[in-house]
């Protein structure tokens, strides 16, 4: 990744020239292949909006639609200011291009709950700018002032009842100067943004079964590839025997590629059946003997190192020595798989003069570069088309399967659809890193928190994918939801130790918010209980209410948010029925609060824990301060989604390795939440947006918050603090042992 040069940033709304039949706005590269040419010549359709002379309006969707609703919500922002009905526009997925770079991530990349945050002002301005150019064209045509003309419903009206449609104005509008000052509508004039009745624009196709995911792509003369990949992480092909495989019906070729052997056939099933007959000898590589004893042994040993300090104030170690009471805990978090429902796949057609890659990716900008590396072509010769994604969750930020498909297509000289089996997918994921987290809190004789120590040890994802953002031993994507530790403890020292455990680490929905929210919120709950305080009131009494800027707040609010946290906690206290008695055995209620992605949310979870320690989540209540909601129903859907994705991990999720390879192969070994385990009550309450408040991200944070709240609810129900995830009966039983009960260490 460090070798990839991102194009220079430039003003996305660039002056541009007319293209016959359409309005040109901004800077648009049909593909990386046209990059050089397009920089010199600006004859092109526009970056965000295309208007046909037939009045058809097309809005470009520059983020990958993986369920989180960018397809509709981003278009709503443009349509609001463009004065078109979003239900009447066509949406197209944008190719890789400079105009589409996500300013919060520095690449054309969908992730980090940034899509709406990045688009919020940018896309409304894109719509407004296009509208102003259309109005200017109409004014010129009618020899009127722009202020005498008005854009409404895809047309401009002017003095004396004049009217022209956008289609009639598009060509002239494209010749208008791009306005420099683009005022936006006040929120009171929004007709579309915030519309609670707006439906998803992709629902009809998804219900009809006609939405095209990567795995559904068909191109002429396409062959299908099934692959054998090393069962151990980091393994390689040593040799293989394809005698039986290559004689199977339909098989066109058996080819070796960088990390495996592919069978290419007329259909997937033929390829898969033949692949099962391959005899491959593997070079097991550096992790040959890795297993969980080694993984945890290594993490424990690494955790004895001092680590890198990423936030510090006062003298935490000294204050811990002086404290009247010290509480300590160690938390263990497992590795997790993404397991989106659509297994990895890509259609690649590598030719001598270029390549077409059709792929369900979260990172289309990277694809031309890695395919160039794999094929010897130049990035500008590679055309990338993004499809709908059958789930992403961070897995499709990786482009490994795209490289594989390109190598295989090149080797056989034909368009190839590579399809992974579920087993390929689960054993060749990049995994949410496990880790070990040691925390301590010192309390003075009056019960005041005076010292906090946090020491996290885990594999660093960014060291593998984006090493340039790892500074002084700290990966910003390892310290989320802890770099913004919200409690006022005058002496604190927060450290991080990275450690490679031989299990490829990857960005997983919510990334390190998940580990750190569980550690922070689980521990503060323990301290509150030890001090005999109400969990909600204790938090409110101990937030930092200042406005100090944190050092590592990459995607967070960047300032202390104690006031916002207090607000959501007070709200959820009322909305959840906190403090009321729960009837029935084994029931408990737990709370957690977090700021992530500039969204502040609190959750109260009710659980029932059986005598055998089976956990059922009965009810989840959220109060969320996420600023203005663009598409409210789907903002809510993201919270529902995070809840259940988080629950799968919290209750069941654990990836383990043996002999260097992942042991879990399919959903029978990697259990996820199903209908019967889904909470029957899931309430979401929104805090009204403040004036000029920008939206927060919603695609991820609840995943972390629900996990911590479940842990605290299990404590309320059973008196057991479970410091090892997942919350399986085995782990709860282990922590029910009285030796695990936290007692203040006498000093």
């Amino acid at each position: 990744m460090e070798n990839i040069k991102m194009p220079a940033r430039r003003d996305f709304l660039k002056s541009s020239a007319a293209v016959s039949g359409g309005l040109t706005l901004g800077f648009y590269l049909p593909s990386a292949s046209k990059a050089a040419e397009a920089q010199a010549v600006t004859h092109s359709p526009n970056a965000w909006v295309k208007i046909g002379t037939d009045n058809a309006v097309t809005i470009m969707c520059a983020r990958s639609e993986m369920g989180q609703d960018v397809y509709t919500s981003l278009a709503m922002l443009i349509a609001e200011e463009l004065e078109v009905d979003v239900n009447k526009v066509k949406i197209e997925f944008a190719p890789p291009a400079e105009a589409y770079i996500n300013a919060l991530l520095g690449g054309q990349l969908t992730g980090g709950s940034t899509s709406v945050r990045d688009a919020w002002e940018k896309l409304r301005k894109a719509g407004a700018s296009a509208r102003m150019m259309l109005v200017a064209a109409a004014a010129e045509k009618w020899n009127a002032k722009p202020s005498e003309c008005k854009a409404v419903g895809g047309a401009v009206t002017g003095p004396g009842g004049k009217r022209a449609t956008y289609g009639q104005l598009a060509e002239a509008a494209a010749k208008m100067e791009v306005p420099k000052d683009v005022p936006l509508k006040p929120t009171s004039e929004w007709k579309q943004v915030g519309n609670v009745k707006q439906k998803r624009l992709d629902t009809p196709a998804k219900v009809a079964g006609t939405a095209v995911f990567g795995i559904d792509v068909r191109v002429p003369d396409m062959l299908y590839a099934a692959v054998a990949m090393p069962p151990m992480i980091g393994g390689k092909v040593e040799s293989f025997n394809d005698e039986r495989a290559k004689n199977m019906p339909g098989v066109k070729a058996v080819v070796q590629f960088s990390r495996g052997v592919a069978v290419v056939a007329d259909s997937y099933w033929q390829a898969k059946k033949a692949k099962d007959l391959l005899e491959v000898t593997w070079d097991a590589g550096p992790n040959a003997n890795n297993d969980m004893r080694k993984v945890w042994g290594g993490l424990k040993e690494a955790s004895n190192q001092a680590g890198a300090v990423f936030r510090e104030a006062g003298d935490a170690d000294g204050a811990l020595k002086d404290a009247a009471q010290v509480y300590e805990a160690t938390y263990e978090l497992p590795f997790l798989s993404h397991s989106p429902m659509e297994p990895m796949n890509t259609v690649a057609h590598v030719r001598a003069d270029g390549a077409t890659i059709i792929t369900p990716t979260q990172f289309q900008q990277l694809v031309p570069f890695v395919v160039a590396g794999a094929t010897g072509l130049k990035p500008e010769q590679i055309n990338v088309i993004t499809t709908f994604l059958g789930g992403g969750f961070g897995r499709r930020v990786e482009v490994d399967y795209t490289i594989d498909a390109a190598e295989i297509s090149k080797a056989v000289g034909a368009p190839v659809k590579l399809v992974w089996s579920r087993e390929d997918d689960m054993t060749h994921d990049s995994y949410r890193p496990g880790g070990l987290y040691k925390v301590a809190m010192g309390v003075d004789a009056a019960g005041k928190l005076i010292a906090y120590r946090y020491h996290g040890t885990s594999p660093s994802i960014s060291s593998r994918l984006f090493p340039s953002i790892v500074k002084d031993g700290v990966d910003p994507f390892s310290v989320e939801a802890i770099d913004n530790f919200p409690y006022a403890v005058v002496n604190h020292k927060l450290t991080y130790q990275m450690h490679d455990a031989g299990i490829t680490p990857g960005y997983w929905r919510g990334v390190s918010h998940n580990q750190n929210c569980y550690v922070v919120e689980g521990f503060i709950d323990e301290v509150a209980a030890a001090l005999g305080k109400d969990p909600i009131q204790f938090r409110i009494d101990n937030f930092e209410y200042g406005q100090e800027k944190h050092k590592w707040s990459g995607l967070s609010a960047g300032v202390a948010v104690g006031g916002r946290m207090k607000k959501v906690l007070e709200d959820v206290r009322g909305k959840s029925g906190w403090g009321s008695k729960l009837s029935g055995e084994g029931k408990g209620r737990g709370v957690a609060v977090m700021e992530g992605y500039n969204t502040v949310m609190a959750a109260v979870v009710e659980v029932t824990v059986s005598k055998n320690y089976d956990v059922q989540v009965d009810k989840v209540t959220y109060s969320i301060d996420a600023g203005p909601l663009i598409h409210p129903d789907q903002a809510r859907a993201q919270v529902e989604s995070c809840t259940i994705y988080g629950m799968s991990a919290a209750l069941y999720g654990e990836i383990t390795v043996k002999n260097g390879g992942v042991e879990q192969m399919n959903f029978d070994q990697y259990r996820v939440v199903r209908m019967n385990e889904s909470p029957k009550v899931l309430d979401v309450h929104w805090i009204a947006a403040g004036k000029d408040q920008a939206p927060g991200g919603l695609g991820e944070p609840a995943t972390a918050v629900v996990t911590a709240a479940i842990g605290n609810a299990i404590y309320a129900a059973t008196g057991v603090r479970v410091r090892r995830l997942p919350f399986t009966p085995e782990n709860i039983k282990a922590f029910a042992d009285p030796r695990h009960t936290m007692k203040p260490k006498s000093v």
């Binding site: 609703d69 439906k199 998803r200 219900v207 429902m341 659509e342 059958g390 789930g391 994705y645």
Partner: protein, 148 residues
């Protein structure tokens, strides 16, 4: 081997090995890609279709066993079917990948149980995984479809 069956009310003919799963015949041979591949082991329900009106996992249904039978896929479930209408009304899909299987399973449920309770829904729908977590909306949509 030439195998004929009724697909969404029309005769379909295919010449593939009889052990080929119905799923891959639909997707690769017949180009009907609405039916999805999720796990290949009948663990996730993404490939659910109707065989003679009953929900089956097409990844575990050899095409040889389908000869002369009646198969309905998501493409053949009427656009005005109560399930499809409820799915649209409640905006159930997120990524949408598992939804054809969910809808086929839900349609089979409603064909067998006119007014399903929560426990009926749990029992019928728990074989269908959704990683986006649309279960609360699926539950609500099934109840809405039952009332339609």
């Amino acid at each position: 081997m030439l195998i004929s069956f009724n697909l969404n009310g029309k005769q379909a003919n295919t010449d593939v090995a009889p052990d080929t799963p119905l799923l891959w015949v639909l997707r690769d041979t017949l180009g009907m890609t609405g039916t999805k591949f999720g796990c290949g082991k009948a663990l996730c329900g993404a490939c659910t279709v109707h065989l003679n009106g009953q929900a089956v996992r097409s990844c575990q249904t050899p095409i040889g066993s389908v000869a002369g039978q009646k198969v309905t896929t998501i493409e053949g479930l009427a656009a005005n079917h109560a399930v499809k209408k409820a799915w649209v009304a409640l905006d159930v899909p997120q990524c949408g990948y598992c939804q054809p299987g969910q809808m086929m399973q839900a349609a089979a449920l409603l064909a067998n149980v006119k007014s399903p309770s929560d426990s009926d829904i749990d029992a019928w729908m728990s074989g269908n995984i959704c990683r986006c977590g649309t279960y609360p909306r699926i539950r609500a949509a099934i109840k809405a479809a039952a009332k339609a």
